[in-house]
């Protein structure tokens, strides 16, 4: 086996040294009746070239090189080549959690830079080293709000990503934390009157997403005022991180839970991605996940360490803020490199291009269908209502190597034949025109 660095003679020598006659003796602690005496039913050992051939065939069975108009929590953005070039370095790729700071300063400093950039973008005071993804991060944010306020339960907007809501429900059902949902208005924003009815003295937090699942930018300040007036926290979830290039950061929020996939992370059929949690300094000890902090070494030199770990499971066990252990360090490093490449001006410029593409597309689609939720600002997603079932439109588009918008009927039956379309900097005018044409047929 080519990954194993031992010759038969090495193995024989080692067995002699430890005083065993055969390898089987090493497995004697396993009761005989449970020892496997047959080969595992897995593919036979393959050459590297065969492995590549197999996955290449799989990749070709997937849409490859298609125009993509799907967003809905996973966004198709250009990835500068330096990202993979840098994260492929073995020192980033094959290191473990930086528990030994003297030989992990690379990962630690990169994460410290990540935390700083997330704070700058979200307008929060502290950010952690990452969560699994935006959906689990939202669930963790909700549980954090419960710890901070000592209240039970949350009021969550129906315009939060439907799968985020499913994940939150799974997490909270075991903790006796009821989740109440509140609706949206014809302009696509949350229904404040409905929210006011649903907040109680036991509501730990209100959660909205902005831009929300329909692409509409919420009035965060107004929701914050209402939540705070009832003693609840406001959690803002962001699934399209690039929106922060042009959209005002949700500084009125108490906790921001963001998916950072847009920042240089491949779509990858849904993962791995990286969630981020950011909050106010006063709540940091209730925040889950790893945190990197600055300190000095014994010679006074600046260095970085994992810190405030008394919140975490390996110290606090069942009293920890979360059971989370792994973060998404490599993905966070990808995002850090991405944010560095585009930086202060580029993230804005890129976001402006997204806005321009989506605005053009929405104007064109408006000629063939109805654009819902008019009159409120959007970023790079919009909802088109058509006479035909969007599934039929999408089937036609597949023949033109185009993946159309996400049909909303599954989660929002009240919207009828509506689909959520997304345009990024990667959608050319030509692609948009082709898609619009198919809608009109």
């Amino acid at each position: 086996m080519r990954y194993l660095p031992k010759s038969p003679a090495d193995r024989a020598h080692m067995l002699r040294e430890i005083g065993y006659k055969s390898i089987d003796e090493l497995f004697a602690p396993i009761p005989a009746e449970y020892r496997l005496t047959r080969d595992l039913k897995v593919p036979r050992q393959m050459a590297e070239s065969e492995i590549i051939d197999f996955f290449r065939a799989c990749a070709e069975d997937n849409a490859s090189g298609y125009a993509v108009f799907l967003g809905a929590g996973a966004y198709h953005h250009y990835r500068p080549v330096v990202i993979d070039s840098l994260i492929s370095r073995g020192e980033f790729l094959t290191a473990y959690t930086p528990y030994q700071p003297e030989i992990s300063q690379g990962t630690l400093q990169a994460i410290f830079e990540f935390q700083t950039m997330i704070c700058e973008l979200t307008g929060m005071e502290v950010a952690n080293a990452s969560m699994y993804d935006g959906s689990t991060g939202s669930a963790e944010a909700l549980m954090m709000a419960v710890r901070v306020t000592g209240r039970k339960g949350a009021v969550v907007a129906r315009t939060v990503h439907p799968e985020y809501r499913e994940v939150m429900l799974t997490y909270t059902q075991h903790q006796g934390l009821p989740i109440t949902e509140f609706g949206y208005l014809e302009n696509g924003r949350v229904d404040m009157a409905d929210l006011e009815k649903k907040i109680t003295a036991d509501t730990a937090c209100v959660m909205i997403q902005s831009p929300n699942f329909f692409g509409t930018i919420e009035d965060v300040a107004a929701v914050a005022d209402l939540a705070h007036s009832k003693g609840a926290l406001l959690v803002v979830s962001i699934s399209e991180a690039l929106s922060l290039g042009v959209v005002k950061p949700p500084t009125e929020a108490d906790i921001v839970s963001m998916e950072s996939q847009s920042f240089g992370v491949p779509l990858g059929f849904g993962g791995p991605y990286a969630g981020v949690m950011a909050t106010k300094e006063k709540f940091v000890r209730q925040m889950p996940g790893r945190l990197v902090g600055e300190t000095k070494d014994s010679n006074g030199k600046r260095g970085f360490v994992l810190t405030l770990s008394t919140r975490e499971q390996h110290i606090r066990r069942e009293k920890a803020t979360s059971n989370i252990c792994t973060n998404q360090a490599l993905i966070a490093t990808m995002a850090t490199i991405y944010m560095t490449v585009y930086g202060r001006e580029g993230i804005k410029e890129l976001a402006q291009q997204n806005l321009a593409k989506a605005t053009y597309a929405a104007n064109e689609f408006a000629k063939k269908g109805k654009i819902l939720f008019q009159g409120t600002p959007r970023f790079n997603e919009f909802v088109v209502q058509t006479k035909q079932d969007p599934h039929d439109i999408n089937n036609r588009l597949l023949e033109k190597k185009t993946i159309g918008g996400y049909p909303l009927k599954r989660f929002y039956p009240e919207l009828g034949n509506a689909a959520l379309w997304c345009c990024t900097e990667l959608n050319s005018k030509e692609q948009i025109d082709t898609a619009v044409q198919a809608v009109g047929q």
Partner: protein, 495 residues
Amino acid sequence: MSDKYIKKATRHVNQNEDLIFERSSPGKKGYRLPPLDVPEVDYKQALGQAARADLGNMPEVSEMEIIRHFTRLSTWNYAIDLGMYPLGSCTMKYNARVNEVVARLQGLAEAHPWQPEKVSQGALRIMKILADCLLDITGMDAITLQPAAGAHGEMTGIMLIHALLKSKGNPRKKILIPDSAHGTNPATAAICGYAVENLKSNAQGMVDINALASQMNEDVAGLMLTNPNTLGIFEQEIHKIAAILHDKGGLLYMDGANMNALVGKTRPGDFGVDVMHLNLHKTFSTPHGGGGPGSGPVACKKALEPFLPKPVVMSKPDGTVGLDYDRPQSVGRVRMFFGNFGMHVRALAYIMANGPDGLRQTTEDAVLNANYIRKKLDGTYELPYKSASMHEVVFSDHLQSEKGVKTGDVAKRLIDYGFHPYTVSFPLVVHGALMIEPTESESLDELDLFIDAMQSIAREVNEDPELVKTAPHSTRVSRLDETAAARKPVLRWKP
């Protein structure tokens, strides 16, 4: 080894890379966008009050500086690619490069999770084949690939137990957890709403069967057991453990963190385990990446299958692969989309590179390596439990502590010899633990170097304990003040 007077490599420019923000100045750029092919939109006008003023202190640097910055940072990390990384229970094995190549194929890397099933067949097939492989490896009946990491898998598994027991009328109140368990186990039980009851180990470092029998009752939902446990010892009475639980209607959860000791040699499903998670980033070689991403599939017996998170990947009668969302008894969804698919790709590539013979040989080499280290270091370091070791061995610092040297000091000194430290002070059942897991990826030569280093450090403890207590001496930064970091946390850069 007399590297006592080694000069620290702190003067070189490579060793003094600033924070990226400190390299930034207005007007520098690391990108260029293509010209816009649609009419421009004035965002301040379009967004009104929702428009952002500026992006604060985000960096402005050139591409050259970016490459140099992150390359320099990378050189401050230790990594498997540089040498042995014997962190016990973390299974730091070789991460094959072909895995990285196949995960980046365009049709996989650029696949949108919600693109139609008919243009996702390649990705779904990969998930289905991986699922089938993992089922045979574990001896289980059903599986979900959705959990994003080990602890996330634990949570999913305990939710399955809760759901099954609840469907029978009573989800019960407690989960039993041995004192040697990973910290994630009790934290998981707690977030699933269970009270945690500690289970003591016996003098052999295994579950005390009598204690288990007396603690097991109708209030106990199950036991979370790591096997081999965190002492590297196989629970030889596993069948009795399972029987005690099952007799009283409880379930046996296995933390699969140490599955690298078992693949191809025995199957948890055969020895009574009801549900378990696997760590693809440990046993199946997906890279740790400085602390993630992980991936924690959960495999279970038939009785738990109806409760698996949705969707489940399944073969359809027409020969295609699809996603089954129609699962009324499901515990729900634990992560959006389908989990860390990129890790599924890598794990399957690892399985294919090994085949059944390679997987078995891998396990045998992992166990052989640990036992070789044990034999060579026994006596130099105290071996608190004499039971046979599987893939890892746990010593204590008892002999060294007489000189005031602790496990953490020996670990730091190991850095000077070019190795990553072992896991320090865990498991908690051993005072001053040194937990060593070499994995199969180490050659005889590397193992001998490591053993020499550990013996040399033991001599230094006797001759010059201060040398060890102030280690490391050869790194870019010396021991860092972790207390100060926690007392007044500085968690971000400010201008």
